[in-house]
Structure formats: C-alpha cells, structure tokens
Symmetry: C2
C-alpha cells in the first residue's frame, strides 16, 4: 500500500513524500520508476522518524496539514478554501490513526464518508486539488514515454 | 490491494465486483463493511474462476469492457463516449496483465500514462464516470453513519 501511495503521489503531481515507516525498498522502487518514466529531480522521498515532530515543524514553517479521513468534512465542501492554501502536507494513515492526528491537522477531509482506501483518498484529493491537470505534467528526463493507444502497449524510448 | 479495490468499488457506486483470486476473507471484510455502513443488498461480490470466460459472457450479453492500463487512451479523452455506455465491466490487474486482456477490452483506458496504482485508477475512473455524485449515494440499512466533523470522529448509531 505504501508503494502505491508513493507512486500516486509522484504521478499525481506532488513534490515530495515523507514516510514514517522506514522502508528503503519503497524508496528504491519509486526512484527506479522516476529514472525510467521521468521526474527524478522533481519528486523526493524522505524517510522520517517521529511523524508528529515532522508535522509540527511543517506547521511552524507556515504550511498547512490536511488529514484524509472518512470522518472529516467532505472534499467537495472544502475544496474552494483548500485550493487557496500554498503549501499542503497531506497525511494518510493505514489502519487506525492516533487521535492526536485529528487535532494536529488544520483540515480533516473526507473523500466521501464511507470506508475505502487511503490510496483512493489520496488520488481523489490530488485530482480535485489539481483539477485533473496533473495528468498533463511533463516528467523530465524520462527514458520511456507511453504513446496512448487503443490496443496493446506503445512505448517510445527516449535515450 | 484487492480489499482496497473492493471497498473502493462499493464506496464509489459500483453494483458488483468479480474477483478472480479466490479469497473468501476479502468477501467477508466487504460484507462486514456493508453490514455496518450500509448497502449490503446493493453491492455484491462474486468469485469467478476463468476471468476470460467471464469477460466473454459479459460481452455476449451486450456489456462493454473497460480495461484500466497506463498504456491506454487517457480517461479525459474518452469520458464522453464512456458515459454513453449502459453496462460497463471495469478490469484492473495487479502487476503484469496478459496481452489477451488488451484485445478483449472494448476500451483500454489510462488514468494518466504514468505508473501508479490500480486502486487509484479505479477510484478516478469511477469518480469521472459518476461526476462525484457517487459520494451523495445513500447506503441503505446502515447501522452506522458518519456525521462529517472538523476534528475527531462523530458516528450516529442507527439501530
């Protein structure tokens, strides 16, 4: 799940992902994807210990924190003011999230109020924030590029 | 991942999920979610052996098949004609999908042409198809219902 969350972050226009689970294999997977499909210099992964300190520092620097949870305010009721924020840290949790997180967040936002998936929540959140334009992003220095096609696979090799 | 895909299917307005991996525990998890959060009678899970026969039967009955793949036509270039279809079977695969699937599909559709996640792809696909209205759906006979809130969790018990 963390690999998928990281790949969604990259493909949907985020600048960086912070992971509190120490896992170098995920970092390597995403870096391999970026080497092949582009954007290696644009998308960073950082492994952090102490997620609550990381969040506190983010807020101290003027950034806002959006926690995605099925208990929050529905995205479509919040999107107009979320789009006005400059720097957003999105927090997703697998399984039960500590109560503290709901307090630390500037916004607790629901992607619908039914249980589903943190990967789905992240993807809809980013899609709403970027209005679908994230899919037009050019990923720099790609070695491979998909040529969209009706059947099968077409890939252009760029280097 | 399959559990997440199943929960997204349910929460994002699908009628049914067919799983070709035989796994009763996922079925049970989703049924438990439906018992608690509603819609048990509206959302079905069926375990199928022989996914290609299942797809062939679906097409014989007049249904269309949409295969989500990073190599396909971008969703935003296809959505207007996809919305005109009546019965759609969405196919997602974990890992490498047999070449045959690209031929069987009526539409090979990409949620952007970068690698990310089949759960993210499914969620964006359904969100585009249902124009975000899936989140307004009432889930019948729920025992629990979230009251959206800015901090913490508020849940109404209905029975």
């Amino acid at each position: 799940m963390t690999t998928h969350a990281a790949l969604v972050s990259r493909a949907f226009g985020s600048d960086k992902i912070y992971m509190s689970d120490v896992d170098d294999s995920i970092k390597k997977t995403v870096e391999d994807v970026s080497s092949r499909w582009g954007g290696r210099s644009d998308f960073k992964i950082e492994i952090v210990r102490g997620w609550s300190e990381m969040i506190a520092n983010w807020k101290k620097d003027g950034g806002k924190v959006v926690h995605l949870t099925m208990y929050g305010i529905h995205i479509d009721d919040a999107i107009s003011y979320l789009r006005r924020e400059n720097r957003i840290l999105v927090v997703i949790g697998a399984g039960k999230v500590p109560r503290q997180m709901y307090e630390l967040a500037d916004y607790n936002i629901a992607i619908g109020n039914q249980p589903h998936s943190e990967v789905a929540a992240l993807s809809i959140f980013l899609d709403r924030m970027f209005r679908g334009k994230q899919f037009e992003k050019e990923f720099k220095d790609a070695r491979l590029k998909v040529i969209p096609t009706e059947k099968g696979k077409r890939v252009r090799e760029l280097s």
